[in-house]
Subunit: 249 residues, 2 copies
């Protein structure tokens, strides 16, 4: 029997995980110019935060065979659970951050709780799952601002997706108690981060509507700097942060 030759892939496990559930508001199968299938799904859910439902609408993508296999089985309203990683690429000076699904499951349709319809008539999954966990590197000095109901800290964090796409820079946002913890950290600190993903939007100076996928931290744990072969991995990282484009601050 002939051996299938596999090209060596420097694939390691991603240093972070995304677990996300929601009801689909959009199911969109596309093909790239090279013929790659891309299935874009928007998951609508809400998580409880101090007794209040916090809604989210997050887009995830599936690629290739997985995209085609799932496209027929999903429709608006279907509730799914996705497990995946962050991905990022740059095009024409802009950075696009997304969620790449590595495993998709259907929730038991008889057991899903839905919200009331939103303005577009879509129902979100109630008590949904929106969990991000990872060990990354703070690549900017945290900035803290006073806002009307407390404090918010923001910083850029570098994660490794484990795939060919490599490095992912993402904005960490922390409020109140978590903001104080983050403000205490300095650029270059490795951290454990747990939080939820959110899609922030704002209007930039040119009046364009902008969107950015961010992690709102529920907590952050500073780690010691890695040594030996872990350090070597770090040396192979890109030397500097991506420009923050035009973040709100």
């Amino acid at each position: 029997m002939r051996r299938v030759e596999e090209k060596p892939v420097a694939r390691k496990v991603a240093d972070h995980e995304v677990w996300l559930s929601g009801a689909l508001t959009e199911v969109d199968l596309r093909y790239t110019s090279a013929g790659t299938a891309v299935l874009l799904l928007t998951l609508a859910g809400e998580v409880d935060q101090e007794g209040f439902p916090r809604p989210y609408y997050l887009q995830v993508k599936l690629l290739k065979e997985r995209a085609e296999r799932w496209a027929d089985r999903l429709k608006r309203g279907t509730a799914v659970l996705a497990r995946g990683v962050l991905t990022q690429y740059r095009s024409e000076g802009k950075t696009y951050t997304g969620i790449l699904v590595r495993e998709l499951r259907l929730l038991d349709p008889g057991k899903v709780a839905y919200s009331e319809p939103d303005r577009k008539g879509n129902r979100r999954e109630a008590r949904a799952l929106n969990r991000f966990l990872g060990t990354g590197l703070l690549v900017s000095q945290p900035e803290v601002r006073a806002v009307k109901d407390g404090h918010v800290a923001r910083a850029r964090v570098l994660f490794q997706s484990g795939g060919e796409e490599g490095a992912v820079f993402i904005t960490l946002e922390a409020w109140d108690g978590a903001a104080l913890e983050v403000s205490d950290l300095s650029k270059g600190t490795p951290i454990f981060l747990e939080g939820r993903l959110k899609n922030d939007s704002w209007t930039d100076r040119e009046g364009n509507r902008r969107f950015e996928l961010r992690v709102e931290a529920s907590w952050v744990k500073p780690l010691a700097r890695p040594i030996r072969e872990e350090a070597q991995e770090e040396e192979n990282l890109p030397p500097d942060d991506l420009p923050p484009d035009d973040l709100p601050f």
Copy 2:
């Protein structure tokens, strides 16, 4: 250049993840009779649950090069973060369930909060991380019992470790609201489970002290039964649950 021949390994990503931090109370490097290095670490931590610290002492293991590499760098009191998976093997009629570490990091020693010393003089990490997430299969009918401060539901869940060791059967324990949710599920239901790991102990009928690693669910989400190639994977699973040995009930 000669190609290194690799034997094909049916390795897929594990269907669950363990994220655990704690201060070490034990660092024990051993070698199996075949010469494999095994580093056993006991992590002591406490998580807040409704305002009360809930302590845990959980043993994890590292194997081979990773075991030897870390043995010199760790001592009692060192606080670490471990990411890994469950493992399980049977020996002489008993089932041993453990946590296999795939990534270990040191916490920043200057930022770790410790508890007061316990009876043995060990300090636990305060506000520690003890997170289990996974998609598994309920392989027993949940049993619910009234206990003095509410209800507890227990069931056996099957996870796949993704390594050569394969299937892991573990007891899911759910209290109060989560107990009601679990009691509503039937054997054979695929579930998403989030919770924390705990080491339960009891005395069996022969008077021996017994220990079992369990997951205490914070929530459970029933999934639809998988179809197509996912179903094929399921067909390859062992036909039945492991005997529950002598669980408390």
